[in-house]
Each structure stands twice: as structure tokens, then as C-alpha cells.
Amino acid sequence: MRTCPGTNSAVRSHLSDFKKHRAARIDHYVVEVNKLIIRLEKLTAFDRTNTESAKIRAIEKSVVPWVNDQDVPFCPDCGNKFSIRNRRHHCRLCGSIMCKKCMELISLPLANKLTSASKESLSTHTSPSQSPNSVHGSRRGSISSMSSVSSVLDEKDDDRIRCCTHCKDTLLKREQQIDEKEHTPDIVKLYEKLRLCMEKVDQKAPEYIRMAASLNAGETTYSLEHASDLRVEVQKVYELIDALSKKILTLGLNQDPPPHPSNLRLQRMIRYSATLFVQEKLLGLMSLPTKEQFEELKKKRKEEMERKRAVERQAALESQRRLEERQSGLASRAANGEVASLRRGPAPLRKAEGWLPLSGGQGQSEDSDPLLQQIHNITSFIRQAKAAGRMDEVRTLQENLRQLQDEYDQQQTEKAIELSRRQAEEEDLQREQLQMLRERELEREREQFRVASLHTRTRSLDFREIGPFQLEPSREPRTHLAYALDLGSSPVPSSTAPKTPSLSSTQPTRVWSGPPAVGQERLPQSSMPQQHEGPSLNPFDEEDLSSPMEEATTGPPAAGVSLDPSARILKEYNPFEEEDEEEEAVAGNPFIQPDSPAPNPFSEEDEHPQQRLSSPLVPGNPFEEPTCINPFEMDSDSGPEAEEPIEEELLLQQIDNIKAYIFDAKQCGRLDEVEVLTENLRELKHTLAKQKGGTD
């Protein structure tokens, strides 16, 4: 037996059988109805009111032959005998006879409705035999005031047509059909709208859910804005569904008489199912992450993916690396060299050999070469993939890249830590030497003091303030602390970026305001008079510079200098405040930032004293001018011989500071800082030793 598609069970259709039987029946019925309607049309096709009844009768008789009066002695419907009183009436549609009681009437409007409707349906159905006979108002010409002479006995039907019950029944049925065809109840209209909305939801919701799921997983396939737009759209449709179903629910409630209970039940059920629909689908709509959440999610996902892939890719990566090393070894090495030279570029006279990638890292660069190389390769791959528009590849590559970079960074820090350890060991050896140096340094310091005090009072005041060297060391190292802490907690400080950078230097409370943010805010200031920047920029020159500048430039920018004294006073209370200043100063230095592509702040820091003091060639160096103004420093700048002692002195000072700070840090138990600082110290000592070796 046949099986319906979709069911696995037997079925049997009787439809063709049914249709065959029905067709036979329907043909008969349809012919019957059509016949009546054609006759009706003929009967109404002339102006009944203005036609004589005799003429009307003639027409009527021509439409359908009337049954002979004699043949029907009794009313076929009610069985009453016809007599003078009970007169015979003819159905104008079929010609049959009935009594008056059984007679029905068809009003002209009804007749018109029936005929016009059938004309429409006929014309649409194109049945040629019946369509031509339908000219309306063919007799319209005979509009006249000819009063109709109605016969006494036969009442004239001006506006209606007599017929038998059977014909009327048939016609009424037909009318009902026409009505139903044309009439669509309100509920249907509303319901259709409702279904449209539901379909829309069915279309959009899965799309949205896909998006939301992807976004919630931290993927970047879809954009957050698009998804939230879609969400709003879908929710609007839900609101519409809610409103429509509510409208359906209340449909006809205020009518009189109230609608049939089953109608009400239908309305309630529709409302109920709409509510179910909304519940089920709306609540299935997961919420979207906010932007911040999304960023976090993205990060999380990346990390996860990294972790996952790290294992998978390890093997592949290594083999790939080896291959690529061979292939692009030359090119990348060249690139590497370029980078190195670029880095060295701005400071060609620098003598310090840091441990950092630039100089000290020279040896390391070979170790980390494969990693860097890989990073290079991947960036170029990403570029290519982007050009090719393969976004998924880009994504995986970017993940790869990130992973590599992380690894690289980690390697760097590890190396740094290791180095610092070694340096700490060396420290002891150099202590003696340092002691000597320190004494010399003190001497020089005193000398400097004398010179400075000769120059200006303010300066001397400054020095008096700072005077004892114990104070200085406790201040300077803080810069390193700041860096050290920055290294550890870089994302934290940026959140507390100062609002007023110029004033910030005087506010002791904002200790940890982060360097990047401050730097950004400071940057515009770098275009301000350089005198202004001078003091805040260079921590070492500050004491020296600020005072002469106050003299030299009679109207110094308010914030930087005028507040300086108070700032200094505060500094004494709160050593941390200075770190702030230092950070800001360093970060705000427009030269340091571009000069130091490496994220490690130490390189910047290392460059300060040397670059600034020993490299007047650096274009636009803000210290150039101040140093020129400062007679003391002019001196030092003028000759290389003079340069060295100062440098040495400063170095020693720095070393002292750092030592003090290490002590401080040790006491506070901040071991990581200690490590970092000892590195610094070692480096400085190294520089010092070199210089000594060179000069002495």
C-alpha cells in the first residue's frame, strides 16, 4: 500500500473516489444554480418599475415557461387546494406553482448581488457560453414618468421577484457562499499578521542565537552591534506578537450579543499559544555580553585557544620553525640587524651597554631569534591572509602570533631575572670600589654645590632643601620602584590617570598613576615651552634646572615651576609622590617613547642620564636648552673632559640611590623589585667602571 512521505505507516486515500462521486453531484448542483442565476439576470435586466405589468409578465414568461394552472390543483409544498381565495402563484425562476403562503420573494438588491457575483466568477472562470448575456441596464433608455398602471387584482412587484422556496434556498446558499468568499473576519486578519510575526521570529531567532552564542564564546565572527540590533528587532516582533494576540483575545468582547463561546475559546487559545510561543522563544534568546564583557570574553577565548593549540602546535611549530629558519634566515637576520641599528641610532654616543635587547641583548638576540623570526613570519602571513580575505586564517594566525609574543616576553623577563641574579653576586665585589667612588662623588657634589650657590639663591635653597644626600637616594630610587611596579602591574595604574597633569606632580596622593596614561596627557604639553618641560622631565636635572630657569625665564609656566617648591616640600613628606613625578616625566618625554620600541621601561630609564647628558646631538632634546642656560652644565657640555666627571658623579649618585632603594625594598620584602634594581645597579656600576677605565 502507498505510504505518505513523512509517515512510515500505511495510509489509503479515498479522495479520487470521493471526487468522482462529488463531481457528478456537483455538476448537477452547479448547473442548477447557474440556470437560476441566468434567469434571474434576465428578469432584472430591464427597468421593472417603469414597465407595464403585462409587459413584465410577458418577459417573465419568456424567461421560463410557466406551468399550466390546471395541472396543479394543490400547492405542492403545503398541499392546500387552490381556489379563488388561495390563488396560484408562479415561480419566476422555475415556472412552478405554489400558494401565496409558500411563495418567496427575492429583492432586487439580492438579485443584483447574485448576478454580479456570478458574472465575476464566470468571467474569471471563462465559461464562454454564459458570459455574453450580461449587459446591465439595457433598458435604461426608457426612463419616463409613465405611471405604471397596476392591475387591480395582480399586485405588481416593483422591486422583487417571486419565486418558490426551493429556488430561493438555492440562491440563498449561493449568496452565503459569496459572502464568505468576500468577508474575512477581523480575527483572520489579525491572525495572519500574528503568524507573519511568528515566522519572522522563526527566521531571525536562530540567526540571533547563533550570533549570541558565538559572541558569548568570545568569537569575533559577528559584530556585537549587529547582534544587538538584531536582538532589538526580534524583541520588537515579540512585542508585536504580544499586542496582536492580546487584540485577538479581546476581539468582540464588547459586542452585543457576545460572540459564541467557541469563538471566545478560539481567541483564548490563540492568545495562549502566542504566549507559549513568546515564552519559549523569547526566553531562549540569550543575552548579549556588554562591550567590556565581550572584550573579556575575547581575551578568555584567546587564552583558551592558545592553551589548546599550544600543545597541538608545538610539534608543528618546531618543524615549521626549522624550515623557515632555513628559508628566511637571511632576510630576517637582516631585518633584525636593522632593528638593532635603528634602536642604536638615536643614541650613537651612548657608552652604556645595557643588558637589554638593544645592546646587552645582542647575545640574546641570537637565542630569541627563532621566536622573533617566527613572529615576523606570522605577521607577514597575517598580512597575506588579510589581503586574501581569509578571515578565519587570520584569526588563527593572530592567535598564534599572540602566543608567540607572550612566549617571547616571558623569555625576556626570565632572562632579565637571571641576569639580575648574577648582577647581585657581582655587587659585593664592586662594593669596595664603590665606596671610593662615593667619596669622590661627595667631594664633587660639594663642589657643585658651591658653584651653584654662587650662581643663584634659589638654587642654593634648593640644594639646601635637598642638601643631605640621604634624602636624594631615598627619592631617586623610587623611579625604579615605579618602573618595577609598572612592570608587574601595568594595567592597573592606567585606570587612575590624572585629570590635570600639570598639577598632578604636586599631588602626593596619586602615587601610582600610570605612566602611559600620564604620558598621553602629558604629550600635548611637550609642545609647550620647553623650559616648562625641563624640570618635570628630567629627574636628575630637576634640582639643578628648576632654579636657574626660574631666574632665566621670568614668567615660567605656572604649573610646572611655580608649584615646584610646594611640590618639593611635599616630596619630603611623601617620597612616593616623586615616583609619580618621575613616571610622568619619563613617560611624558617625547623622545623616550619613540626611542624605545621595546616595552621594557628600563631601557628608557637607562637612557636618561646618559642620553641627556652625554648626547647633545639628539635633536630637539629638551635638555639642550636648559643645559645651555645652566652655566654649570654648559661647562660640562662644552668639553668632553668636563663631561665625564659629571657623568661619573651622576652615575655614582644614581648608584647610591639605587642601593638605598634596594635596601628599602629588601626591608619591605619586595623581592622582585630588588631583583630589578640590582640589575640596574649592576649596569650602572658597569658603566661607571667602563668610564673610569676609559678616563682614568
Binding site: R22, E239, Y272, S287
Partner: protein, 595 residues
Amino acid sequence: MNVVFAVKQYISKMIEDSGPGMKVLLMDKETTGIVSMVYTQSEILQKEVYLFERIDSQNREIMKHLKAICFLRPTKENVDYIIQELRRPKYTIYFIYFSNVISKSDVKSLAEADEQEVVAEVQEFYGDYIAVNPHLFSLNILGCCQGRNWDPAQLSRTTQGLTALLLSLKKCPMIRYQLSSEAAKRLAECVKQVITKEYELFEFRRTEVPPLLLILDRCDDAITPLLNQWTYQAMVHELLGINNNRIDLSRVPGISKDLREVVLSAENDEFYANNMYLNFAEIGSNIKNLMEDFQKKKPKEQQKLESIADMKAFVENYPQFKKMSGTVSKHVTVVGELSRLVSERNLLEVSEVEQELACQNDHSSALQNIKRLLQNPKVTEFDAARLVMLYALHYERHSSNSLPGLMMDLRNKGVSEKYRKLVSAVVEYGGKRVRGSDLFSPKDAVAITKQFLKGLKGVENVYTQHQPFLHETLDHLIKGRLKENLYPYLGPSTLRDRPQDIIVFVIGGATYEEALTVYNLNRTTPGVRIVLGGTTVHNTKRDRVLLCCPDWSQTPGLKQTSQLGLPNCWDYWHEPPHPAKRWGFTVLARMVLIS
């Protein structure tokens, strides 16, 4: 071989065929039950079926904007109803489906009534049985026999139901029947007759091994329906009564209004689906887990309103939460009621003795236990009578049969005459004289050793040691060892291979214990699929054995339950509880919309 699926497919197909738009489902009394077993109200609402009407209801309004799907049994009355309907159609278009074979003349008279051309479809969809479980069906016929012979009307209904099942599963089976039962033979012949007559319908693609229809008679195993059951579904049916997946809890003391009547449907209730075949103790622990799970997920009241986010979370969890809370309270109530009844009626003890009576042959200890229980005032008169019935069946021919003594005890206990009469009725119905095979004593060497071993090892669970006789029958059938002299084939051809698809039909009704057996056999025997059916699904009260008793219908307390088999009310006619009102839904929903 999934009867629920088969019927559901039919219904889905009907709805699907009618296309989009508002629909009304026109049914008769029986098809209402058939549909309600496989579709829930909300499920069917989603398919735009909003109204459910009975074809025989007189005050249906003309609603020309609705499509009508008629799912009717092809009875004379229904055909008349639909002819009237078509003469004055109330709906815009009609899709007519008959649940069984309809005669050509009926089709013709329908066609002639359809003057307005409102009928779009006339089909036979053979969903003419109640699908209880995927492998269990029922015809909801009570008292199908008069004495030992068929009531002709019921025979024809049973034949229709069985052939519809075969058609819906697309099986043209070989037929075996229980020789000892005249009714089984008659039914087998009737089914065969239909298959021959409608050979066109039964032309399915031949499978390698033809399916098998085995027709049994309840009288061969009158014991099984007399035992108390301990698996969830069987127990609920035994103690509370399942009627088209519905349980009437209105007599539970202190029941809340919502739980007066609950639906247990494996289709929609995961917990029930997972636990319906587990025994009572396991259900207890599972219910506990369900509770704990629920408590975890249940939002704390004060927490709930603390913030909009909390409320949103609540709303987002709402469907699961609501479903879960419904499930929890339902099952807790049902299980609670079960355990209350168990302790109230001392059922554990009763069941132990029942099992002993059914499974062991120790006459004196059995007798002792019965006598002891008869003294216990907690044991209801019905349970007491049942024990005696079991005794009477088992030790009918025992040399030291002391049935008269027990009957005296019953009378002394105050058990009413009606119940006492049942004992003799049972013996007459399912006694040794009637049975084709021996229920109690092992027949061959293997069985003897088995029983011996069982005695040695002891039984795992005293309450579930009874294996329905059907298990053995089916086991033999699968292994090809079912004796042909007891279960002959109808017609000359016999099955050589191991049967694969087996349809078992029990005249007089199947039991949930047997359903469990079939379920387990299906699970454990690869390549064999069994469907069990009966004229009804029994519990003891409804046992047709008892219905044979002329006084039965006059037993006041039991009359009610005996008529439960007829689906005289269906949830579809009830108004759905308005979810918005219940949960303050609209407010919450709006909040979600705004945010």
C-alpha cells in the same frame, strides 16, 4: 515497531496536510483518547490547532475562518454526523481522516453530501488504537467477552484495532494463537479475514522473516494481574489508575488544586520516561535527587527581586524552572501518595505473600501467611480476597486444599459477599481446567533446574520475583521452541526462522508487569522487537476476570474505576491555565524587552 511514534506520525501528517491557518480538530469519543495519548495540548497548539470539538456536539458555531481536520472512527454514526456536517458546513474546508477502513458506499454518500465542495481530503489513517508506551497498546475495551465467547461488537472492534495496528506498523504477519482459548482462535480468524479481504492494503515490502502475531488469552495467566506491582508505572496504575496517561489524584488527602489530576507521559516527562520501569525503592532515591536538583535551581525568594539582573536570570531560566517545578511537585505527590497507600494497606507484607503464592510451591507456609494476613486489620478486604484468589488458583488441586477454611476467614474478616464471590469466579475463569499450560509447576528439566537454582541462590527482591507467564512464552517463541500443539499457526505456512518482529495481543488485557517484561526483552534480545497489546491494560480492579462476575458492576466503590478505561474527558476541553497570570509573566517579559 513503536506504536506511539506511529500514531503520532499520523496525527502530525494530518495537521501538516491541512496547511497553515487556524484549525479545529473534530474527533469522536475514541479518537479523542487516541490523539490525547500522543500529543499534548501545547504541542498541538503550536501546530495551529486551536479548537477541539466532538463531531457529535450539537452547539458548534459556524466558523468559516477555520479549517477542520476530522479524525474519526469509521462508524455508522460518525458517517452520519459528517454527512450532516457537510450539508451545512461550519468550517471553510474539511480534511477527513478515518482511523480504519471505510466502505466505498460510505465514501459515496459523503461525496454526495459535499455539495459545497468543502472536502479537501478523504483518507484512512490507521491510528485506531491507544498507544500507551512505545511497545504497549490498548484498545480500551472492557468486558470484551460474554462468558467464554466474544461479544460480537467487541470482536469486530478488536479486529479493527489489531488490523489498524498491523497497518500502522506495516506488518503483514503470520498468526499464531492460543489453542486453549476459543476467543483467541476467533480473533485470529477475523484478523486473517481482514488481511485477505484488504490484501491490497497489506501488500508491504516483504521482509526476510515475516512478522508474527501471537494472540493469547488472559485466562491462561490470571495470576499476573492479581499481583501488586512495584515498578513505577505499574504501581501507579495499580494503586491510582492510569487513564490515557492521566492520573486522578483527587482522592489524595490534602491535595492541592493544581494536582487533582496529573499527566504522566513518557513523551513529555523525562523523569517519568527514565523511571517508569524502575522499582519503588529506586524511584524514591531518584525523587530525592530530583528534589535536590530542583532546590539547587530554585531561585531564593529574596534573591529573586533584588536586582533586575536577578529577575532577568529568573525569567531566562523560567521555562526550565517551571517545567522542573511542575515535574517535581507532580512526582513527589504521586510517589508520596503511593507510599502512603503502601503503608496504609500494608502492601509490602501483602505483596511478599502474593509473590510467595505466585512463585513458590510451599503450601503450608503460604497458607500460614495468608491466615496471618487475614487477621491483620490493615489489610483491606480487597487485598484479602485477592490473596485467597491467588491461593485458590495456585492450590486448586492441592491435596490439602483449605480454600473453604480461607473463605470462612474472609467472611469472618467481614469481607463482603461480592468479593468472596470473585474467588470462585477467578477459579472458573483462570483455573486449571481452562489453562492450556501449567502456570505453577515447572514443565521440563531445564525449568526444574532453574527453579532449583533459584531456590538455592535466594531471590534478589522478594517483591519482584514473579515473572509473568508471558516471559516464558515469549522466550520460547524467540528461541523457536514454542510448542505448536499449544500455539498453532493459522493457515498452513509456518515460520522456520527465529522471529524478529513479534506482536503479542492478549485478549482480556495486558498488564504493566508484562509491559515491563516486553520492555526488558526488547532491550536484552538484539534483533527482536516485540509489541504488546491488549483489549485493555489491567490493574487488579479492572481485571476482566472480575468483570465476568455478574455482580461486579454493582459494586459501588469499584464501578467507578471499572469505567475509567473510557476517555470521557480530555484535557483539551479544559481551559488552559493562563501562564501570564500565574507567573506575572508579562511584567517580567516586558522587563526583558525593555532592557
